[in-house]
């Protein structure tokens, strides 16, 4: 942040009263305040809330804190006997690490100017004693996370603690607002506004598609009136220098690992001081890290960083990075946000960034100096990704943004918030409803829905009112809702938060074979000693392993030994090949914008020259053998292969929407008598295979593509499937945990994720058959449609294509179908059947069974 201010900043700044101490400090540094910093100060002094949109390296953080520092400088020294003032400025960031980083960077100028300002952090890691002291002796500037703000607000002393608040600085606002954490924060800010009506907000954001969404988000909304915060936009610095990797190696048809490009990437690392290598998934990070080390002849210090690694290991990497001790780091999005990473002079992005804005934000990591061009290399992992990378690069050049929309506030978060507010003080439903609606994302919340949320918090909100006597909150004669018992507040605080992690187990390295100890046998000290925890791993992944299986983690090949208690035991399997790929974590679908650009590129032959020759040749072959997909058309190819018949379509709408589409099409093909067997979806295309010749059926008019792809498939078929789908059940689990239907932890019983007492699948089944309109079902449906299933996007596709479907009945597979066909067998095939076919295949003959179970003589009696 501040230390990177350039020598000669803009001098046309509006006159604003900067205290002498600040003027001196800038002068001593040989700096001048930048125009946007002074402009923001001016607006703040005028009592206005402001959204500051600026690229990385523009001194955004100093701009955000300048109003607070100036105000604190002017503040009178507290006289003896006066009540200590509460927190003056709240800084909220999405990452704990970011709060810590800011503390370091902000303390420096504060010390240098000798300002009377106390700065402290408060995160989940802050020790209890320090939290307690912060309550009685609040710092002037508190650096914290959304969860902590909600927790502080749930206490009785919240009005006093926040009563002197002047500013709230929100960092990385663009990333906060689109998540449920953002929804929770929006509600918390509404409460803060009630305590301090003239509270001012300063939002710091990267460039977004719709700045007005954030401007509304920052200020209190009133019914029938749109209110916007002030806006300061700082133009981009030097255009980044982005290229697509040009190597001689053959670009693979499919896959996500870009192994082919590692020698070229290694060369780039050698040629630069510090390289940041971004990948989309943890499995990519693991694999590429291993690949790079296998060719690391100069033993360059190359490190690995992703969210599943043990915290201490991650901190080590971050520190080494800060000291410029590393030449390269392979990282997932854990490093996405605005942490300062030393002198990175090259960003390599492996795989398509999947979105134009995501590319811009990641490239921003390189070279935190706004006036120097960042340097980045895109490494497409397959041929379609070449097209995507080119489109992202073009969009970046034009400054186009495709950040996701802010959307509506979630109902499960609302339920959690209502309970938190009741923990703080009794509430009047009318007042709380008005307060909630002052948050822009809850402005459209109907009163009826709000009342159902209150009912849910009180006693589960079921149509069958049988839990009233156990209620958590109850309406008193004075018209206020209040807690029925103080333990409810304790229960709330244990479970507050919106980050629901998949159940994870710690991975511990042990001696080979150590996991096979019998249960109940005491752990052998010799085996346990030195058993280091390497990180965390999803239980779902472990369930697919049997002892002896090998997989990659923390840059090592590990052998799965077994599970004991809450730990996964592994041993090092040096020299062997990891057998099981590790899929979980962070796959984004391509944004609508980028998909559209790829379709245009395919349809416009004049653009093919810009692509690598092997890719343009491939497109040429496709045109010759079949037709080009792209533009507004939807190409559907059918061809036989082996014993089966295939249908391949190219909607380019991202994997999530494609999976939903596949499932719906399979249902229809089933009804049409095509006997579909399975399907697979990629980001670009879908492939469905069947026993009957679908091409012939289409040509004979036994079924029609317009009917198959008609929009009404989003009606009953979707609803029926939604309710059964595991995606839906998983979404239900998240909503149930956030809303507090079930608990992550119960006082006195610290439960880990894998021990939730009642399976949410069972609760879901009961609720679905008895009260399908329950508020948690409503929340689930909303999330599933917009999130995991991408129904909105599928809807747009189906609306676009009627009359534009082109069918090509081929004798054999087309060049463009190769990538999706190669996915078959690699990606888990989702099928809608209930698993009965699998059980039937393995079922034993009953006579054999009886013989086996009871010996030969028993068969006589059956």
């Amino acid at each position: 942040m501040t230390e990177t201010l350039p020598l000669f900043a803009d001098q046309s700044a509006a006159p604003v009263s900067l205290p002498a101490r600040f003027v001196r400090w800038f002068a001593e540094k040989g700096w001048r305040p930048r125009a946007h910093q002074l402009e923001l100060l001016g607006k703040a002094e005028a009592g206005l809330s402001t959204l500051l949109i600026a690229p990385t390296g523009a001194g955004k953080t100093l701009a955000g804190f300048l109003p607070a520092l100036v105000d604190l400088e002017r503040r009178d020294k507290p006289k003896p006997g006066m009540i200590k003032p509460g927190v003056h400025t709240l800084y909220i960031s999405p990452l704990k690490a970011l709060a810590v980083d800011i503390e370091r960077n902000l303390t420096k100028p504060v010390d240098e100017m000798d300002l009377p300002v106390r700065i402290e952090t408060r995160t989940g890691d802050t020790p209890q004693a320090k939290r307690q002291r912060q309550k009685t002796h609040p710092p002037d500037i508190l650096l914290t996370t959304p969860e902590q703000v909600s927790l502080l607000l749930s206490h009785k002393d919240a009005p006093r603690f926040f009563g002197d608040l002047r500013y709230v600085v929100l960092d990385e606002l663009h990333s906060l607002v689109t998540s449920k954490r953002g929804h929770m924060l929006a509600l918390a800010l509404a409460r803060l506004r009630r305590y301090v009506p003239d509270l001012q907000f300063i939002g710091l954001s990267a460039t977004v598609a719709e700045p007005d969404d954030l401007r509304r988000w920052l200020v209190a909304q009133a019914p029938h009136e749109e209110r916007l915060s002030e806006l300061i936009e700082v133009g981009g610095g030097a255009k980044p220098n982005i290229t697509i990797l040009k190597g001689d190696n053959r670009i693979p048809w499919s896959g996500h690992f870009a192994r082919y490009a590692m020698p070229d990437v290694y060369e780039a690392i050698q040629a630069h001081q510090t390289t940041l290598i971004f990948v989309n998934t943890r499995s990519q990070a693991e694999l590429l890290f291993q690949e790079l080390w296998s060719i690391n002849e100069d033993s360059l210090p190359i490190a690995l960083h992703h969210g599943s690694l043990d915290v201490s290991q991650r901190r080590k990497v971050e520190q080494a990075m800060g000291k410029n001790a590393l030449r390269a780091v392979v990282a997932t999005s854990t490093l996405d946000l605005g942490i300062d990473w030393g002198d990175v002079d090259l960003v390599v992005h492996v795989g398509s960034p999947k979105g134009a804005s995501r590319l811009a934000q990641r490239i921003g990591r390189a070279n935190h100096r706004m006036d120097e061009a960042s340097k980045a290399i895109l490494v497409p992992a397959n041929r379609f990704e070449v097209l995507e990378c080119q489109a992202a690069l073009d969009a970046n050049y034009l400054g186009f943004q495709d950040t996701p929309p802010v959307g509506q506030g979630a109902l499960d978060v609302l339920c959690q918030h209502i309970l938190g507010m009741a923990c703080s003080e009794p509430f009047d439903a009318d007042d709380l409803y008005a307060e909630v609606r002052s948050a822009s994302i809850y402005t459209d919340l109907p009163r009826e829905t709000f009342d159902r949320a209150v009912g849910f918090v009180s006693n589960g909100g079921y149509a069958l009112q049988s839990y009233e006597r156990y209620a958590k909150i109850r309406l008193g004669k004075d018209g206020l809702w209040r807690l029925t018992h103080p333990s409810v507040a304790q229960q709330y605080r244990l479970n507050a938060g919106t980050i629901i992690e998949a159940p994870v187990l710690a991975i511990r390295a042990v001696r080979k074979g150590a996991g096979r100890m019998k249960r109940g046998e005491p752990a052998q000290a010799a085996t346990m000693r030195g058993g280091r925890v390497l990180g965390k791993i999803e239980e779902l992944f472990l369930e697919t392993l049997t002892p002896g299986d090998t997989f990659l983690f923390a840059g090592k090949v590990l052998r799965f030994e077994g599970i004991r208690e809450n730990e996964c035991y592994v041993s090092y399997a040096e020299g062997s090949e990891a057998k099981i790929p590790y899929y979980a974590g962070g796959k984004f679908p391509t944004t609508t914008f980028l998909s559209g650009e790829v379709r245009k590129m395919l349809a416009d032959e004049t653009q093919w020259d810009r692509l690598p020759k092997q890719v343009s040749d491939w497109l040429g072959y496709q045109k010759w053998k079949s037709v080009m997909p792209g533009g507004d058309k939807l190409l559907v190819e059918t061809f036989p292969r082996g014993e089966r018949f295939y249908m391949v379509a190219y909607p380019f709408e991202g994997r999530l929407a494609h999976q939903t589409l596949c499932m719906l099409l399979t249902r229809r093909l089933e009804r049409a008598g095509a006997q579909p067997i399975g399907y697979v979806a990629s980001d670009y295309a879908i492939s469905i295979w069947s026993r009957k010749d679908m091409g012939a059926m289409l040509e004979r008019g036994q079924m029609s593509l317009n009917d198959l792809f008609s929009q009404d498939m989003l009606g009953d078929d979707l609803e029926a499937w939604l309710d059964e789908s595991f995606v839906f059940k998983r979404t239900f689990r998240y909503c149930a945990l956030i809303a507090g239907l079930i608990e992550k932890r119960h006082p006195g019983k610290e439960k880990s994720g894998r021990q939730v007492t009642v399976s949410t699948d069972l609760i879901y089944d009961v609720l679905r058959s008895h009260e399908p309109d329950h508020i948690i079902m409503q929340a689930t449906r909303h999330d599933a449609r917009s999130g995991l299933l991408d129904v909105e996007r599928l809807n747009d596709l189906l609306a676009r294509i009627p009359g534009r479907i082109v069918h090509k009945n081929l004798e054999r597979i087309s060049p463009m179908a190769v990538p999706v066909m190669l996915e078959i067998g690699k990606e888990p095939v989702l099928s809608s059947n209930t698993g009965d076919d699998m059980m039937a295949e393995h079922a034993m003959n009953v006579d054999d069974l009886v013989r086996e179970a009871m010996g030969e003589d028993a068969v006589e009696t059956s």
């Binding site: 079930i742 069972l762 609760i763 888990p828 034993m844």
Partner: protein
């Protein structure tokens, strides 16, 4: 991934698998109950009635429909098999006060269920005493036709024995896919029944506490499919401890 709650139609139309146990013909119903035709005996286990309201006392508000849903399913099976005796193998009620919390409707449903039949409540760890105000006899164990019925299997008992308690489930894996279903676990001498209550989950029979009860070589999981029961050899299940005796031919 479990199949959704079975509808009553599913329960009615499920095809039972006929086999034998301790010389008696027995039907394994995919809804998770056993029926002995020659004895006209229906066995169900781990109903866990009033589980949701039990949680509500801790202010965790699960949908209050579990008791009615469980009893409706049971009623459909009683109508299907018309047993003379119904044995509920323990943990019929989720806690000791559960029977007192029954609504008048669900209480009536239990009364209707047992009209003209013998109802036997076997005690369980959740319900060690007779259920207040419910018709039927309460026993700790029961012996019928040489078979002992009790809630928790006795490891040292030679059998034949039928019990509940563990809520057995089995996980089958093939070609990268997994199917997990509640199941009857049986080695010919001992049988552990699946839990019947709609809010009851399952514990994989690979868990040492369950697998230790059985003769590993003869252990079979009768997995509950949508409308059929599938007998699956323990060798095909995920996570089973390796076998000591010889493999299946």
């Amino acid at each position: 991934m479990r199949p959704a709650l079975k509808t009553i139609t599913d329960v009615e139309s499920g095809a039972a698998l006929a086999s034998s146990f301790a010389g008696e013909e027995v039907l394994f119903d995919p809804a998770g109950i056993l029926f002995f035709p020659s004895l006209r005996l229906l066995v169900v286990s781990d109903l866990h009635l009033e589980k949701a309201s039990s949680f509500a006392r801790k202010r965790i508000f699960l949908p209050p429909y579990d008791t009615a849903a469980t009893l409706t399913r049971l009623a459909a099976l009683v109508a299907k098999y018309d047993p003379a005796i119904i044995v509920s193998l323990g943990d019929s009620f989720h806690d000791e006060e559960a029977a007192l919390r029954l609504s008048s409707d669900t209480r009536r449903a239990i009364e209707t269920l047992v009209v003209g039949r013998d109802m036997v409540w076997v005690t369980g760890n959740h319900d060690p005493h007779p259920p207040a105000g419910c018709p039927g006899d309460t026993v700790d164990e029961l012996a019928v036709s040489g078979i002992t019925f009790r809630h928790i299997a006795q490891r040292l008992f030679g059998g034949p024995e039928i019990s509940g308690h563990y809520h057995p489930a089995a996980v089958l894996r093939a070609r990268g896919k997994k199917v997990r279903r509640n199941c009857f676990a049986c080695d010919g001498q001992r049988m552990v029944m699946p839990a019947f209550g709609v809010l009851t989950g399952g514990l994989p029979i690979s868990h040492p506490e369950v697998s230790a009860l059985f003769d590993r070589a003869r252990l079979c999981a009768f997995m509950l499919g949508s409308n059929q029961v599938y007998p699956i050899s323990a060798n095909d299940l995920v996570g089973m401890p390796s076998k000591r005796s010889k493999a299946r031919g």
